[in-house]
Amino acid sequence: MYDSFLIRSDSLSNFEEDGKVAGFRFGVRIANYRGCFLSLHNGYYCEVDGVSYPRSAQRLQVNGKPPRTFEDLMQHAVLEHWDMQDEAFLYVYKEGGLTPGTHRIGILESILGAYGRRPDDEEIVKNPPDPSIGGGGKTFNVVYYDLELQG
């Protein structure tokens, strides 16, 4: 769902921490029709110019709170909802950030929502799957966007 609109086209920028450029961020929307409890959010497959950035390098800024790790969301955001009408920001740590110009970003969201219990639930609890499996969301492929870095 919303394959062409999951990243806001004018939202890519670098961010700083302690006076240094620590990575880049962009605005994301949820790829479903109901939102989700944030503990279900398993992170993103995220690829920029052919390099993929693991979940451990990602933070999600949502609901007016500072960026949080997906581990933090899983542990503590059990009854905190990401509403389907709201934008969030995905922060990706990369020393020095991105260079000026256009970058090709591919993402696939992995949200572990479900209509009922499934055979692999216990396994998911023991070993959270890599976000590249996607799942739960309603967009099944990695979708790509060419975005220009904003100043």
Partner: protein
């Protein structure tokens, strides 16, 4: 009396996602532009802001707006999401029942008389005392690829078990909610077109048309298997997607099967993917993929007097191109009500 018409606000999800309509606008649209529709259905976590804690002000605003337009809160759809505690465990049955109780309390505050659930009987059983106390009924959805009689497969195998439980206990707070998607005539071209585009195929309209023609020609189980094999051999990228190949299934529910569950139908989902003008009948519309004619005929025969709530779903498979190619949800729902009104015989 007779069958009443309503709308699930799910139908307007795209308008909401893009910030062009809010639930208030949607209530006004239903009340003023659908020729007498009076019912509202929602998905709790899609419509309620900051679900499940929207604050008292939201509940009062909701009840004022419903009163303003003279609308009836028919049904609230809920999801279990058994992995919200995945930091240490999969939800237990007791927790799943508590999730249902949470939703029942919310439904009650918003005036809904029904919730649509997908839950096992033992979980529903634990939530039933609260359902009875607050007079909110729990309805098991019958959603494709389940059928009324099917005893295997996803979300299947329990419809007739639910009937047995209701008859054994005599409860008035557990029921069934068929979704019109079960009355499949053929795959919607909306889906097939999308799967071709998602796989990066060119000439997807023509290829999709050929798949539909072959589907119509395949009548027996053996022919269905042959069709699936042909599809996978010819377009491996498209039909290696299990949802795409699932569309080629001939699984369907004959409308007459509604008679098996007649006393326990309290709500009906009017699922549809696309309303097209009937050739030679300007201003009249049909959903060619689903058997609305017989579905509504049988609902009338069994004396069903509840709601059919429009549940438009075609927009989801048309969001992979530009804004100019996206569906018009408002128009689709208006067309759906033209059809329902005519088939109901209002």
């Amino acid at each position: 009396m007779g069958i009443k018409r309503g709308v699930s606000l799910y139908s307007y999800q795209q308008e909401e996602w893009f910030g062009r309509m809010t639930w208030r606008d949607e209530l006004r649209e239903v009340a003023t532009n659908l020729g007498g529709a009076t019912g509202i259905e929602i998905i709790s976590e899609a419509t309620i802001p900051h679900f499940p804690f929207p604050g008292d002000e939201f509940y009062q605003e909701w009840n004022f707006e419903m009163a303003r337009w003279g609308l009836e809160a028919v049904c609230m759809d809920v999801f279990p999401d058994p992995l919200i505690f995945r930091r240490d465990h999969v939800m237990t049955d007791r927790e799943l029942a508590e999730r249902l109780r949470m939703e029942i309390r919310i439904a009650h505050r918003m005036g809904f008389k029904n919730i649509r659930a997908q839950a096992d009987i033992n979980v529903v059983e634990m939530a039933l005392p609260l359902a009875e106390e607050l007079d909110v009924r729990i309805n098991q959805e019958i959603h494709y690829p389940a059928t009324i009689r099917r005893t295997d497969g996803p979300m299947g195998g329990r419809i007739m078990d639910v009937v047995e439980y209701i008859e054994k206990t005599g409860t008035k707070h557990y029921g069934l909610q068929p979704d019109f998607g079960i009355f499949k005539k053929e795959p919607s071209r909306i889906y097939i077109n999308y799967y071709f585009r998602a796989a990066g195929e060119d000439n997807w309209e023509e290829k999709s048309k050929e798949v539909l023609e072959r589907y119509r020609a395949a009548k027996t189980e053996a022919e269905e298997e042959e069709l699936k094999k042909w599809a996978l051999d010819t377009y491996p990228k498209v039909f290696s997607n299990r949802y795409a190949v699932g569309e080629l299934s001939h699984t369907t529910t004959p409308a007459e099967d509604l008679k098996l569950i007649a006393p326990y139908i309290y709500c009906v989902h009017g699922k549809f993917l696309e309303m097209t003008e009937i050739p030679g009948k300007p201003g009249q519309y049909e959903e060619v993929a689903l058997d609305y004619e017989n579905g509504i005929r049988v609902l009338k025969e069994i004396g069903y007097e509840g709601y059919i709530d429009s549940e438009y779903e075609g927009q989801r498979s048309q969001q992979d191109r530009g804004l100019e190619h996206m569906a018009n949800e408002i128009e689709e729902v208006r067309r759906h009500h033209e059809m329902m009104k005519r088939l109901i015989g209002e």
